[in-house]
Symmetry: C2
Subunit: 122 residues, 2 copies
DNA sequence: GATACTGGTTACTGCAAAGAAACTGGGATA
DNA sequence: TATCCCAGTTTCTTTGCAGTAACCAGTATC
């Protein structure tokens, strides 16, 4: 899940910025803490994750709840609006299941077949 | 359509790179020439449009047909694979119809309410 | 001979997002 | 006293995308 080597990097869709869609999927089963979100997105730095979550909070997609404990605990949860994105993400994943192999096949044939002279390539 | 000032700039979805989705919509009613695609996307430069179309051709989303006439004529047409993106784009537009106002409202309230001190903003 | 048309290409520039790495704070634990 | 924990923040560097502007080939028209 969210492996940087997996072909979903070639998936031609994006929800919000680069990580928003994955955050939504991370939160679909209930609230999660900052570090719990970081684990499956193992490439993301805390700075970028903070930026993503702040933007989602601003847009009303998540709510942030800080508990005055220590060590500190902060939970993020999808709002109702944020949950509406799940159907769209599911549609994108369905497309990928059905058509991404064809796209990747086309891309592979492009690179291996006629490295030059292919309709005016350099 | 494709007005840079229209709020779809805030739409949190993207198909492929920045212009791919709009190109797909431009081509949904049949083949179009290079300059015909440029018109509705009035902000895009030929360099960027060429890049977009080459990437789509590489991924098997469009076919490029050059007619040896003059002045030269080149037509771009959606492939069957490219057409499958239309349902996804329609789903994204439906989401925007139903939920984008709420997102923009949340964003506006965020900026106007409590410019500082809002859960740790600078 | 000069200019325009189509469908690009090339070189250069600017900006914002992304990332790496180190640091913070304040209590808890060893 | 030193170290760890979480949830970040700060600073700096890199990367890549997008855009501007100029140029090109071949024909046709003025």
């Amino acid at each position: 899940m969210f492996d940087p080597m997996c072909p979903s990097g070639a998936m031609p869709f994006q929800i919000g910025d680069k990580w928003t869609g994955m955050v939504v999927l991370c939160l679909q089963d209930g609230p999660r803490r900052f570090t719990e979100i970081r684990v499956p997105l193992r490439a993301v730095t805390p700075k970028v994750l903070t930026q993503t979550l702040r933007a989602m909070e601003r847009d009303g997609l998540v709510v942030r709840t800080a508990y005055p404990e220590n060590p500190p605990r902060v939970e993020y949860e999808l709002t109702e609006l944020g949950r509406t994105l799940l159907t769209l993400i599911e549609a994108a994943r369905a497309w990928s299941r059905d058509h991404l192999p064809a796209l990747l096949r086309a891309r592979e044939e492009w690179t291996k077949a006629a490295p030059i002279g292919q309709s005016g390539r350099p």
